[in-house]
């Protein structure tokens, strides 16, 4: 045992939560969704996940080397980005397109802005949107999931996502178990909810953002006349609310900031779903709110102890 006295600056007690530990928890929470992706879409989805993770880690390593900074692949954040990006892609996407997405996520959005903790938007989401805008054809090509209702499949291989499908094609159970078309990770709502509960229990994320986000989305769907439960379970809302919107770097730290942020996400999501010409609005709404986070944080900054707010018109 070391008997010498250590003299050091605070903090003197350190918790066990490190970036690596948190990222590992996120990966564990995404395992059910990844396993369900394999069950629903076959082994091709596992290949896609492997490609994305490997590319992200490699690009992170190379870009840190070129910028002459310390290597940060050990904190597993690149693995999380790769995994999240893969779960947001359709299963039959060209691997080169997926790799281009990894390049956008890691090099442009993350490393060019200073690496982990500095990115101004969620890297995986930004990459997904760049791919969606750049390659609308391949990115909207949804393969029919195993066990999807026959009426959903217009021809043998592709089907609409639940959001673009005729009402009544998918039941709630279909949506919960992922028997529908969509990105490989977003279809099975049950697996995502399981992952979310794990994260909340491990205190990796606070339940404020997902709960308020989903609640606002439900209320908004009622207001614009959509079926709230169907809206919650379909599309990317679950993966967005649980895994994307709760990213530490790009969500507010204050409690009321989190509430405002989540309400904004919820309102925008349903507005985009109901009135825009695209079937899905989760990624765009989270990205927009990510950009507003600094403003939200400034508006909701807690009052300093002893600071008295000046009344209007009162001179100092």
């Amino acid at each position: 045992m070391d008997t010498k006295l250590h003299v050091s600056a605070s903090p003197h007690f350190k918790g066990s939560s490190t970036t690596r530990r948190i990222m590992l928890d996120v990966i564990i929470a995404l395992i059910p969704a990844s396993v369900m992706a394999c069950v629903i879409f076959g082994m091709r989805s596992m290949v896609l996940i492997a490609i994305c993770i490997a590319t992200c880690v490699l690009l992170e390593f190379i870009s840190r080397k070129i910028m002459k900074r310390d290597t940060t692949i050990g904190d597993l954040s690149a693995v999380v980005t790769g995994l999240l990006l893969a779960l947001n892609l359709p299963v039959d996407i060209n691997p080169l397109i997926a790799m281009f997405g990894c390049l956008i996520a890691i090099v442009v959005v993350k490393q060019m802005f200073g690496g982990i903790g500095m990115n101004f938007v969620n890297p995986a989401l930004a990459a997904r949107i760049v791919l969606l805008v750049s390659f609308p054809g391949p990115m909207m090509h949804w393969v029919t999931a195993a066990g999807a209702p026959k009426a959903a499949a217009i021809d043998a291989t592709t089907s609409a996502t639940p959001l673009a499908a005729e009402p009544g094609v998918y039941s709630y159970v279909d949506l919960l178990l992922g028997r529908c078309g969509g990105s490989i990770g977003e279809v099975c709502a049950l697996a995502l909810i399981l992952g979310g509960i794990y994260l909340v229990v491990r205190k990796v994320i606070s339940p404020i953002i997902p709960c308020v986000y989903l609640g606002t989305a439900a209320v908004m769907s009622l207001i614009v006349g959509l079926d709230p439960l169907y809206q919650l379970l379909s599309g990317g809302l679950m993966i967005g609310a649980i895994f994307m919107a709760t990213d530490y770097t790009t969500s507010p730290v204050t409690k009321w900031g989190k509430v405002i942020y989540a309400i904004g996400c919820g309102i925008l999501t349903i507005l985009l779903r109901a009135f825009s010409n695209m079937p899905e609005g989760v990624s765009f709404s989270i990205l927009l709110m990510n950009i507003l986070v600094p403003l939200i944080e400034r508006a909701t900054a807690p009052r300093t102890l002893g600071y008295i707010k000046k009344k209007k018109g009162e001179q100092k």
């Binding site: 281009f100 442009v108 760049v130 805008v133 750049s134 390659f135 609308p136």
Partner: protein, 231 residues
């Protein structure tokens, strides 16, 4: 001013004081018309022609234009040349006229041209002003061409209209892609400039790319006053 060689007036606009990438002037046409390399050249040449002519005329008239109305006078001269260029383009290159659209007459309010008139041509003799206009024009055209080539190559898979890439990454010809390419080019230009020679910072104006031609040097004055007051 006499000590500076004419060659330097010509070459400074290309990298060191590149109007788009270092002075960040004229970003509106830079982002809007660079969806193809051909458009970029058309825009660059048109702006260069206006820049040279207006610099020459403003430099000739610099002793007659009263100081208080110089900006309206400059704009009138520039607008005259833009009209001439627009008519010429309409007559001889209608395709470019169609693709540039509103951005061709908008050269009138291009900050590069007014900026050079204000910063350089209004204070210098004719020959350096023409060379300055030519250099700045070349710098503008080169920056636009770089952006146009990159955006056209990735965005539509073509180069000057010839099909090269089989896939198209649409985001490059959309506005967000334009901003990203612009940012990356500015980064490269800064990198090139920082390698060319490191300046020792002596006055607060050194950080300002326009300090050399700044008439007021007001920032320097206020800074000096501030230090005196602090003492």
């Amino acid at each position: 001013m006499e000590k500076r060689s004419y060659l330097k007036e010509l070459t400074k606009g290309i990298i060191k004081e590149n109007p788009v990438l270092c002075l960040v002037l004229g970003t509106c046409p830079t982002l809007a018309v660079t969806t193809s390399a051909f458009n970029a050249i058309g825009m660059g040449v048109a702006a260069t022609a206006v820049l040279i002519c207006s610099n020459a005329v403003i430099s000739l008239l610099r002793k007659f234009i009263p100081d208080k109305v110089r900006i309206p006078a400059y704009i009138t001269i520039i607008a005259g040349f833009v009209t001439v260029v627009q008519m010429l383009v309409k007559a001889f290159a209608p395709a470019i006229n169609n693709s540039l659209g509103i951005y061709l007459p908008l050269i009138v309010v291009n900050c590069i041209i007014l900026g050079r008139a204000e910063m350089f041509a209004g204070k210098n003799p004719v020959l350096p002003s023409i060379l300055d206009g030519l250099g700045m024009g070349i710098g503008f055209t080169a920056a636009l061409l770089c952006m146009g080539i990159i955006r056209e190559f990735f965005g539509s898979g073509t180069l000057f209209g010839m099909q090269i890439m089989p896939v198209q990454i649409l985001i490059f010809i959309l506005p967000p892609g334009g901003f990203f390419v612009f940012g990356i080019l500015i980064m490269l230009a800064n990198k090139l400039n920082s390698r060319a020679g490191k300046k020792v910072k002596t006055s607060p104006c050194d950080g300002c790319p326009m300090s050399e031609n700044c008439a007021e040097k007001s920032c320097e004055k206020t800074a000096k006053e501030a230090t005196v007051n602090a003492d």
